[in-house]
């Protein structure tokens, strides 16, 4: 955020004066008509920081519309301009040529001006993501400091276009937008270990993320259940740890996904969780796991306490040798991304403490408990990360244990009273971590896998939208840190843990639920009226349907002929679903 604009009154002056082809939402019951302000057909999501638009329209001639930039031969921009063609002009819908007699009613071109003139390769956390967008009758201009801001501007422009009932492509004749994100880190966690997500589905999630201005894919790639990541150094990891030889991400698959993300301005942070959540790793390297004891008997499971074997054994040198080699490989594979997420969550020491070798090790090293041992393990791994030139992201547990973390570590907060009854609230943790000088990311209230049926909101208003319990979460609620600490609360992350999702339902489960969080992370805190937002969200979910994402309905109603299973259904369009 290179500049901040002060208190701009957000003026939505769109007027729906002509018919358009999309989206109506309807009440739950006739006696509870919807409140809130109906949305324009082209209302952008997330809501820009400042937006002013006229109520008259200009039209676009599909044969004579030009969008170009001052950067030549920049793959991020070239690829975007190519990609957005099928979003501007959706397949199966033939856009009419407008009457060109009155040139002032035609939007001829949009020019993208990238101030830095640099074609960045990969987005960084503190990169400027802002843009300005102006349309004045025949011409539009998107101004940005760098390519990432430009991508945000193109996305917003694409959302401002809409198709009229008689299939003209239109937008407001005069538009002025100044926009920047409230938080620089806006993440989605996908878990490919509990269930495998096929590559085309991950790409569609990335597309949906770009449509919602999410900019980090936290790829929780491995866990107890499976290890789908193919390592060239340690091929036995997938040979033994994957569900099957078909349930893997080859090096080509991984690069394909990383490139797909990068070109959309999305960072990919891989998570390789240790020392817990490693049963799949243990199938390849059983000797790395701790033998759990029942009395003097090794490898005995005690139900609810520990398994037969679990958690890496921090007393073994070969564990660190492996981690060193493996993390080096990861660093090379995810070559542009400085961060690796190391997990370090939910380490329960019962198994460690049952093991006589570990007990000896504790004695010899003046350690007294599992926390000491966890600190020992974590310090080794964090040192290792530094030696290979990587930065670490961790779940909060290791920090809870009091381990000294490098100052550039990002702490992800997932604990809250609502999840663990003996835990303080997430706001307590956020305040504490940022006040100690760490960057922090909030995931705790955003576990989107934990579904429930939409409930009536209040006696006065029936929105019945599960979504808006996330929409109304302010990350700074009860925050006690100072201004510097506030700057270190870098954002939030919507997590779709995959116990109950896979390729069948992950897209319709996550979208547009995550969109509510997208707006919270991007837009001004003043944009917080869910009754109005539900109408814009409906516009946005229909927009995602037009882009081939099977986003689920937010209320009764309909979108258009492009719904799933209908004549112009987009979900099976090859351009949107990446099945070769």
């Amino acid at each position: 955020m290179s500049y901040r604009l002060h208190i701009f009154q957000c003026l939505l002056t769109f007027i729906i004066s002509i018919h358009h082809v999309y989206c109506i939402i309807d009440y739950i019951e006739a006696k509870y008509p919807l409140k809130g302000k109906p949305s324009a057909p082209n209302a952008p999501w997330p809501q820009p920081q400042y937006l002013n638009a006229s109520s008259d329209y200009v039209y676009i001639d599909p044969n004579f519309f030009v969008i170009h930039s001052n950067l030549k031969d920049c793959d991020v921009i070239d690829n975007a301009l190519q990609r957005y063609k099928s979003i501007f002009f959706p397949p199966k819908i033939s856009i009419q040529n407008p009457d060109r007699l009155d040139e002032s009613r035609i939007l001829l071109s949009v020019f993208i001006l990238i101030q830095s003139k640099q074609c960045h390769t990969y987005p960084q956390l503190r990169d400027d993501q802002s843009y300005n967008l102006t349309i004045e009758s025949s011409y539009g201009i998107i101004y940005a400091e760098n390519v990432w801001g430009a991508l945000n501007g193109i996305e917003t422009f694409s959302q401002l276009l809409f198709i009229t009932d008689d299939n003209y492509l239109a937008t407001n004749a005069s538009i002025y937008i100044q926009d920047w994100p409230r938080f620089p880190y806006r993440g989605i966690l996908l878990d490919t270990a509990r269930h495998f997500l096929p590559v085309p589905i991950i790409k569609q999630h990335l597309d949906a993320m770009a449509s919602n201005k999410f900019n980090v894919l936290h790829w929780h790639i491995t866990d107890d259940q499976s290890w789908p990541f193919v390592s060239e150094t340690f091929p036995q990891l997938t040979e033994k740890g994957a569900f099957s030889s078909a349930h893997v991400y080859t090096p080509e698959n991984v690069q394909d996904i990383l490139e797909h993300a990068r070109l959309r301005g999305i960072r990919t942070i891989p998570e390789f969780d240790t020392p817990g959540h490693v049963a799949a790793l243990g199938r390849a390297f059983p000797e790395f796991l701790t033998d759990c004891y029942n009395g003097s008997m090794p490898c005995q499971a005690i139900y609810g306490v520990h398994a037969e074997r679990e958690i890496l054994d921090p007393t073994k040198a070969e564990v660190y040798n492996f981690m060193n080699e493996f993390l080096k490989e990861v660093k090379e594979v995810f070559k542009y991304e400085p961060y690796i997420h190391l997990g370090m969550d939910e380490v329960y020491p019962a198994c460690w403490l049952s093991n006589p070798n570990i007990k000896n090790f504790l004695n010899e090293n003046n350690m007294s408990n599992g926390t000491d041992l966890m600190s020992y393990f974590a310090s080794q791994i964090l040192k290792l990360m530094q030696s290979i030139g990587g930065k670490s992201m961790v779940w909060q547990d290791v920090w809870d244990d009091g381990v000294k973390l490098p100052s550039d570590t990002v702490i992800e907060i997932w604990k809250d009273t609502s999840l663990l009854s003996d835990s303080p609230s997430w706001s307590y943790y956020l305040s504490k971590a940022t006040s100690e000088g760490y960057d922090a990311v909030l995931a705790a209230p955003f576990y989107l896998n934990m579904i429930e049926y939409g409930k009536y909101n209040t006696p006065e208003s029936v929105m019945n939208l599960e979504f808006f319990k996330w929409y109304n979460i302010d990350l700074f609620a009860n925050f006690t840190g100072d201004d510097d600490a506030r700057q270190r609360l870098i954002g939030g992350e919507a997590a779709l843990w995959a116990e109950f999702v896979d390729g069948t339902n992950s897209l319709s489960r996550l979208w547009p639920r995550a969109s509510a969080i997208a707006e919270r992370l991007w837009s001004s805190i003043d944009v917080n009226n869910p009754e109005d937002a539900q109408f814009r969200l409906d516009v946005h979910r229909c927009r995602m349907l037009r882009r081939g994402i099977p986003a689920a309905p937010v209320l009764n109603g309909y979108c258009g002929l492009y719904e799933v299973g209908m004549k112009q259904s987009m979900v099976n369009e090859p351009i949107f679903n990446y099945i070769h």
Binding site: R194, N505, N577
Partner: protein, 551 residues
């Protein structure tokens, strides 16, 4: 060919796993699926480890010379052959018979030469005792026996419907096998449903669901032996049914003219269902839930405030004769279009406020001597409607309120219980002698986190205090997928395989109740759905299927 009690005793339920894929015993972090085990659990099944290979070039269906046959059987055999041997292409084929087989993906994994030393299953003989009915009914016989004991298997059924259920089971017994390509184990099955009415409700008013998606859902139903599609076609929000007599109903009442079911759509859906032995039970709910009817046709009650009509509308207006003449014409069309004996008349959740506000309705109340008891007016309305529908020769199904409100209905009326506490209501309705359906515990639209199907699985329609005669009156139940947050993006993944657990409750024996025992079979069943192209969601926690869904 009725299942004999003796055989039932002889054939014990044997749990089995063919050990196709031994898994690391260390790994207890995800669910293991059975291999080649049918869902729902048959009444009696006996299998042995003896395997037979099944190969498309060496297998055929054979209709016995003495068997009854008909178009339903011919098309079922064609369909199941494709389902067994061309699973990748199957869904496209049934949605569009012109589509081509995917020769690469559906290529047999083994050649006949590979299988030269393997015993092969060469044919399934099919024998049907009685002439085919054109449409399935509440009384249809769905029993069958299936024996796979040599290279020639036998499927016997009283009716075509039993044969279709048996073919479904046969298709479940065949599983992909590393050595044989496709295999089946030596198996004997005697099977029949515990309940006659095993329904699924979809709501196409809150959101429109395309015919294509409805057909995929029918296919999913048939894979779990469900036999009634409760088509909650219209409601307050929209009226997608394109009426012959009253085209304006959908003209004004549908969301828009892309979101309608034409007469051809309806006919093709009914035919698709018929081929699978599925009844289409259509619901035209009234007098409430009818806002969308009244956008051009003046049948709704005008609500008043401050002595004037306030432009709002309530339930159907029972004070006007014109309402009933409209309904007469409407229901005589419905009786014609939908071949099932039953029409669902709704009758639930009637709000009296608007009736109370309307002076004409007040006058009518006085004239009829109803006093201030608007439930009498509701009763009057429903009485007229049931008489209208009765006069078309149809039977009707209704939501429980009709009986709660003491409407006199025909003896063959089916009453659907949807409110809690359902045991009391089941006891009440069956005591009155009506055939009864349970849906209270099976509102699948009420999603929650985790393995929620266990709750559906545990709910039993006989779980109420009553005599044997009362229990016999419970003809089954329905899983309901109301459409407030459901459309074609998520209807299949949210319904399946959760509805399949209701299907097992309604088909299998009363003592098949252990969710832990069901889990590995359900896991296989959900992967079976994926193999057939139907995106059934994971419901048992971490797992995988050999065929994952990527669109």
């Amino acid at each position: 060919m009725h299942s004999s009690a003796l055989l039932l005793v002889l054939l014990t339920v044997v749990s089995h796993s063919h050990g196709k894929r031994p898994r690391d015993p260390l790994n207890s972090f995800y669910v293991q699926a059975t291999v080649g085990y049918p869902w729902p659990q048959p009444q009696a099944i006996h299998t042995t480890p003896q395997q037979y290979g099944v190969h498309p070039a060496a297998f055929h269906f054979l209709v016995n010379q003495t068997s009854q046959t008909c178009d339903l059987l011919t098309s079922a055999l064609d369909r199941y052959y494709k389902l067994i041997f061309y699973p990748y292409s199957y869904l496209n084929y049934i949605l569009d018979p012109e589509s081509v087989i995917d020769e690469i993906k559906d290529k047999p994994k083994k050649t006949l030469f590979d299988l030269r030393d393997t015993p092969l299953l060469k044919r399934l003989n099919v024998y049907i005792q009685e002439p085919c009915e054109r449409y399935p009914t509440l009384e249809s016989d769905e029993s069958y026996t299936l024996t796979v004991t040599s290279d020639s298997a036998m499927l016997e059924a009283v009716s075509i419907w039993g044969a279709i259920r048996g073919l479904e089971t046969f298709s479940h017994l065949i599983y992909p096998d590393d050595n044989l390509g496709l295999a089946i184990n030596q198996t004997t099955i005697i099977d029949f449903p515990r309940f006659q009415h095993r329904g699924l409700l979809l709501d196409t008013s809150r959101h429109f669901i395309s015919i294509k998606t409805l057909k995929i859902n029918l296919e999913a139903m048939s894979s779990s032996k469900m036999n009634v599609f409760h088509f909650h076609i219209v409601d307050d929000q929209s009226f997608p049914y394109e009426s012959r007599s009253f085209p304006d109903l959908s003209g004004a009442g549908a969301y828009n003219q892309d979101h309608v079911y034409s007469q051809e759509d309806i006919a093709s859906l009914i035919e698709f269902a018929r081929q699978r032995g599925i009844r289409v039970l259509v619901e035209f709910d009234s007098p409430g839930h009818t806002q969308s009817w009244g956008r051009v046709i003046d049948v709704l009650t005008h609500c008043y405030s401050g002595g004037k009509p306030n432009n709002e509308f309530g339930p159907m207006d029972p004070s006007r004769n014109s309402t009933f003449s409209f309904l007469k014409e409407m229901f005589s069309e419905v009786a014609n279009v939908f071949p099932d004996h039953y029409v669902h008349l709704g009758g639930d959740e009637v709000d009296f406020d608007c009736w109370r506000s309307n002076p004409d309705v007040q006058a009518f109340m006085k004239q009829m001597g109803f006093g201030n008891d608007y439930s009498l007016l509701e009763q009057y309305y429903m009485q007229n409607v049931v008489d209208i529908v009765g006069s078309t020769g149809k039977g009707y199904a209704v939501w429980q309120e009709i009986i709660d409100n003491n409407v006199t209905v025909k003896a063959d009326t089916v009453v659907e219980v949807w409110k809690d506490p359902y045991p009391d209501e089941l006891a009440r309705v069956t005591k009155l002698g009506y055939r009864t359906l349970l849906s209270t515990c099976w509102y699948l639209n009420y999603i929650s986190y985790g393995k929620d199907w266990v709750n559906y699985y545990k709910c039993d329609p006989h779980n109420f205090p009553g005599t044997d005669a009362q229990k016999k009156l419970v003809v089954g139940g329905e899983a309901c997928m109301w459409g407030e947050y459901i459309d074609a993006t998520n209807v299949i993944t949210t319904t399946w395989p959760r509805a399949a657990t209701v299907a097992e409750r309604l088909w299998s024996a009363a003592n098949v109740t252990d969710p832990n025992a069901a889990t590995p079979r359900l896991e296989e069943h959900r992967c079976r759905y994926l193999r057939r192209g139907i995106p059934a969601a994971p419901v048992n926690g971490p797992s995988y299927c050999d065929f994952e869904f990527n669109r």
